[in-house]
Symmetry: C2
Subunit: 101 residues, 2 copies
């Protein structure tokens, strides 16, 4: 029905093509944002994990230090969260970004 | 009491000094991790905000696009979250890191 209306209008085909072009650019802009957003999350998770793993080794090397168990737990939580975050973002990458790209 | 026990031991003073030195290194390692962790959060928040602001401008320039309102809301939420995150990390920096450093 919309097709017919457009077809009857003056410049209807041109208007439809113009809209399709704009839609395309809009989708491309959104995909660029999505890709950037996912890569920021991945990079952040990777860096947090690397930092936590380094700190965990350093903390474990020492003995009988105050709050050592608490800090080790916090570092392990950082590592666990980063693993979850990376997995989630891989899913987003394959299910959302790649599905739309 | 612990002071007296150490004082009476052979090498008690040396042991105490040794422990103090190890404690110092442990604190320094933890502070280095804390500083790195805070700076990662700050950098991530800054990048997410910058990306969202860029995408928001691009999305706003176009008209009558599908899900435009939803994407604008998501981008604004990203910006709001980043502002909150930066403020929280500034607090952590001044109250935790600088207080211990």
């Amino acid at each position: 029905e919309a097709d017919l209306t457009l077809f009857r209008c003056e410049n209807g085909v041109e208007a439809a093509l113009q809209y399709a072009k704009m839609w395309c650019r809009y989708a491309k802009d959104l995909l660029a944002w999505m890709e950037k957003r996912i890569s920021l999350e991945q990079e952040f998770a990777k860096n947090v994990m690397k930092t936590a793993e380094g700190a965990k080794i350093t903390v474990a090397q020492q003995e009988l230090m105050p709050l050592q168990y608490i800090y080790t737990m916090a570092l392990e939580q950082d590592i666990k969260n980063s693993v979850t975050s990376r997995r989630t973002n891989e899913l987003l990458q394959s299910r959302c970004y790649q599905a739309l790209a």
